[in-house]
């Protein structure tokens, strides 16, 4: 699988500069006490990785990859592993920067708040990956973009309608006992959803004919 990861990393190496610039901008804005854009950076990783699907599709890499040893499996696995890898690296860099910014600005480090923000962001990023990748494998990047838009739109509408009929505050109150375990729960949920998404993508891809 390492070969497939190297190929995906090579494809996004030109984007590393952009990520670097964004990290510097984040650091400067943070030090100036302006907008906190730490949540954008991990999301950028997924967006950058999604662009590799377009290149793969344009040059018919997927069909070619089927002619390589374990191509069907490793092509999918490498997309997930590479995305998670760069998301984690960027998240760690962003978190460390957030500690520094917090210390410079307030002479204290609010570990809990920074970690919870970053954990939430990583979870959100993995959620996007979980939903997007199987859709991309099934319908292609272009249709998946429309699909994700419709999905988000649908969730907002349904969420809005449900909020009118269901008292969310009661539900949240009844779930308050979970607060102590929130980090563990998020990690477990993230692992299950990403693994499930991977298995679905792998199944879709293993049945593809070109």
């Amino acid at each position: 699988m390492t070969g497939f990861i190297k190929k995906d990393l090579a494809m996004i190496k030109s984007n590393f500069k952009l990520l670097g610039i964004l990290i510097v901008v984040y650091a400067i804005m943070g030090l100036m006490g302006k907008m906190d854009m730490s949540f954008i950076l991990p999301f950028m990783c997924v967006m950058i990785m999604i662009s590799t699907f377009s290149y793969d599709n344009y040059n018919k890499w997927d069909a070619y990859s089927f002619s390589l040893p374990n191509g069907r499996k490793n092509s999918v696995k490498s997309k997930y592993v590479t995305t998670i890898l760069i998301t984690f690296i960027v998240s760690i860099i962003t978190t460390l920067l957030s500690f520094i910014i917090s210390y410079v600005n307030t002479q204290t480090i609010n570990y809990e708040q920074i970690l919870v923000t970053m954990l939430g962001t990583v979870f959100g990023t993995l959620l996007v990956l979980t939903i997007m990748y199987p859709i991309i494998y099934k319908f292609g990047v272009e249709k998946a973009r429309i699909g994700i838009f419709l999905l988000v739109f649908g969730i907002v509408i349904i969420g809005g309608l449900l909020a009118n009929y269901i008292d969310l505050s009661n539900i949240l109150k009844s779930l308050a006992f979970l607060e102590d375990y929130i980090i563990i729960i998020l990690i477990i949920v993230a692992v299950i959803m990403v693994y499930g998404s991977y298995k679905i993508s792998e199944r879709i891809f293993s049945k593809k004919d070109f």
Partner: protein, 285 residues
Amino acid sequence: MDNVLEVKNLCKKYDNFELKNISFKLPKGMIMGFIGENGAGKTTTIKAILNIIKSYNGEIKIFGLDNRKSDKEIKEDIGVVLDDMFFPEILTPNDINKAMQGIYRNWDTGMFNDYLKKFSLLPNKQIKTFSKGMRKKLEIATALSHHPKLLILDEPTSGLDPVARAEVVQIFQSIIEKDECSILLSSHITADLEHIADYITFINNGEIVLSKTTDELLNKYGIVKCTEKEFKDIDKKDYIKYRKTKYEYEILVSNKKDFKTKYNISIIDKITLDDLMVLMIKGEK
């Protein structure tokens, strides 16, 4: 294992096209030219052999193993050039080298770099800056650099100028001489195949029309040229196809010698693979 590749009763149905009972065998150490007009089914057959399409009927054995059950094992020893399918064009040959190190057990960086030099390909240039011929050369270099036992090449010389084509054909020949490698080579540039192929398999409209040694085809088959009057005296059983040109009849026969003995027609030309294809496809019976 006498045959590196055996295709038996391969069938695949699309809405507007069908592969019908494709069967042929490629013996070890041989080059097979796989010919046919565009859309005849060459690429579909190759895709089935490589499991790029999975939903087909029939049996395909490579190195004596079932191609679906032993997919990974088989592909370690196959080098592939596919028509219009390759690495994304934002990558460089160096990137491909690094990726292939992690894909093929026997990847040979030294050999790959030698091919890059031989083909004058710059290792740090993105593929998108390469001409069509250069891309083809890079695909060939990639297919050859893990010491494959079987090369499956779909139109590997298309887009190459005559000099580069000769160079590539020579490389294929030297691989066969040096290693115990076999080659399935699909091409519509049939002149290349006449020089290097040991076998010719001809596919037309999704069906194998013939699969024979090149020597047999080029030496035994022939084109009879005769007048209309002479043509009318020829028994239908004694020719494969014919076509009427402006001045004469051209008749494809499978045994020049027998035909000459039976009929008193002196003009029987040697056949080329191009002639064979044209008469088989456009000729009448």
